[in-house]
Amino acid sequence: MLTEHAKVMKALAAAGEIAGRKKLQKMIYIAKKLDFPFYEKFDFHFYGPYSEELTCRIEELCALGFLHEVKEKKSGYVQYRYTLTEAGEQFLRHYDWDMPGLAECMQALNEQNARFLELVSTVLYFEHLPRDEVKAKIAVLKSKQRYTEEEIEEAYAYIDTLRSQCNNKARV
């Protein structure tokens, strides 16, 4: 019961604090693509993979008092920060299962900025295509972000590192 909510909360608990809804969306998407069992459905949107289901779930968790949401005004836009509340921590105690490797993965992702995570998640979205085609897609679909060749290569390298870390953790 409410297992999918609990999974999202486990991810947040591991990350500590997540600054920005976009970042949160990309972190869960990347974790899902790394085979962590998140079942929120993601579509490709203007800013990369996005899940309406995840947005609703986060709203519910905030409404239940399990997540603390702080709205911050940045220059010209609004950003939201998320942390687990004490009630949220208590709620998680009802779920004694673990997702091996998730904590390390979320912490690693949280160290990256939203722009880079947007690129990583976009690379993962088109992962089934040859690398040159992925680069061409990014050049067209993400033209405003002006990602460089080096950044795209960095994203690929980052995905490889994350995968090997997650695989090792899952085996331990």
Binding site: F46, C56, E60, V78, Q90, K137
Partner: protein, 432 residues
């Protein structure tokens, strides 16, 4: 290849929402005639909603034609000749509009949850695979199926084209709100679509709305909000959906345990195995699902039999409001134990359903970079996000509203011929 591309004579479909749906392009006519598109006649647009609103028997076929017609009007009547609009994309838009829901299966929301499928993957597979739809699209051009698939997947380079089919104010939403309101018989789904179409303007990356049309958009947002809570989230519909989901779970579990079905679930085998070929997917429609539910009423397994009887005879679960605070979660764990003592399996008969479990949303402006909001085109050419201009939209999009319900079989619990004490205790807890 299509020579000329136009039919000798325009074809029209009578439609209760748009009055007429006009078809002039040969490829559209051919696509409508394909077996994959005709299959949509056998898939209801609103799944189990007909068990609450008996008029809601309309199909994804009707809706797909409706989305096509809205796009046709936008392109042919409003966008043609305007800046940012590339008229060579016309046929691509029309085909994508017509085919955007092609991969939906029967009761697709429950099916996707239980079998971990995504109808959008099947839409892509039908458009790109060895199908009649693919053959019709290829008559336009070898790369045309790929382009249509990309528009539907929202990865096509021209974002204006994508936003017509899929955005916060797109042809898909406009058609389903009006159509669902019409067929359910509710009055609050209506808004002035003609006015919205007239004030839509193409921009480089998306469709925007002229500031003078803001009130029509407010009406659309209100309609979306009302339909969300009054129709899409209706607790009785959700009860039917919960039972449907549990039937599929039960059938899958029984199959995995080697249970001998009286009516073998031959159409489900690849779904149970987690590897569904396109042919199997297309072979399944609502008539087939309901056939199995009819037959499974008489299975020896008491849970499968009971759940199917409930669905077929509309003997649905009752519900109570459930706010899953820590206190309520403890109570839920206690309830699960009591259910077991009453010989009622809580995995099938005690279900929490949340608003995030449903595939609908209402308008939120969101955060920069989260997803694209609705923009108004101001008289000075500036773009302003809708809720910054509209007090009404700001009021409803700023409020967070979520909903959780706990479903249970009241009839089982009210039958005190067995396990009287424990059932009384359960009812006391459920009544709060």
């Amino acid at each position: 290849m299509y020579s000329g591309g136009q039919l000798d004579e325009e074809k029209v479909f009578k439609d209760p929402v748009h009055r007429y749906i006009h078809v002039r392009d040969k490829v559209i006519w051919d696509l409508i005639g394909t077996k994959e598109f005709q299959r949509l006649r056998r898939i209801k647009q609103l799944g189990t909603t007909y068990l609450t609103f008996h008029g809601a028997e309309h199909s994804r076929f009707n809706h797909s034609l409706g989305v096509y017609e809205i796009i046709r009007r936008i392109i042919d009547d409003v966008f043609v000749g305007r800046d940012h609009w590339d008229h060579s994309e016309r046929l691509l838009c029309l085909c994508a509009a017509l085919l955007h829901d092609l991969g939906h299966g029967p009761f697709s929301h429950s099916f996707e949850k239980v079998f971990r499928l995504d109808h959008e993957d099947f839409t892509q597979a039908i458009i790109l695979g060895d199908t009649e739809v693919n053959a019709a699209l290829r008559k336009v051009g070898d790369d045309f199926p790929q382009k249509v698939a990309e528009v539907i997947a929202k990865t096509y380079p021209n974002k204006l084209v994508v936003s017509l089919i899929s955005s916060q104010i797109d042809a898909d939403r406009m058609d389903y709100l009006l159509r669902d309101a019409y067929y359910t018989g509710v009055s609050y789904g209506y808004f002035d679509m003609e006015r919205i179409l007239r004030v839509m303007r193409p921009r480089e990356d998306q469709v925007v709305i002229k500031r003078s049309g803001m009130h029509a958009v407010e009406d659309y947002i209100m309609s979306r909000y009302q339909m969300y809570w009054q129709v899409y989230f209706h607790p009785v519909t959700r009860s039917a959906e919960v039972i449907l989901t549990k039937i599929l779970h039960r059938a899958k579990k029984l199959y995995e345990e080697g249970y001998r079905f009286q009516t073998e679930p031959v159409h489900f085998l690849s779904f149970f195995a987690g590897n569904v070929p396109l042919g199997d997917y297309l072979a399944l429609d609502e008539a087939i699902i309901l056939f199995y539910f009819q037959q499974w009423q008489y299975e020896r397994d008491p849970i499968l039999s009971d759940l199917c009887q409930r669905f077929v005879r509309r003997r649905l679960f009752k519900y109570t409001e459930f706010h899953p605070t820590n206190e309520q979660m403890t109570r839920l764990i206690e309830l699960r134990e009591l259910f077991k003592k009453a010989w009622i399996d809580p995995d099938y008969y005690l279900v929490v359903d949340s608003s995030s479990d449903l595939p609908y949303d209402f308008y939120r402006p969101g955060e920069e970079g989260e997803r694209l909001p609705i923009y108004l085109l101001m008289p000075n050419g500036e773009l302003r996000e809708l809720s910054r201009e509209s007090v009404l939209v700001d009021a409803i999009s700023g409020k967070r509203r979520t909903d959780h319900k706990l479903y249970f079989p009241a009839d089982f619990l009210e039958d005190l011929s067995t396990k009287r004490t424990v059932k009384k205790k359960i009812m006391e807890i459920l009544k709060g």
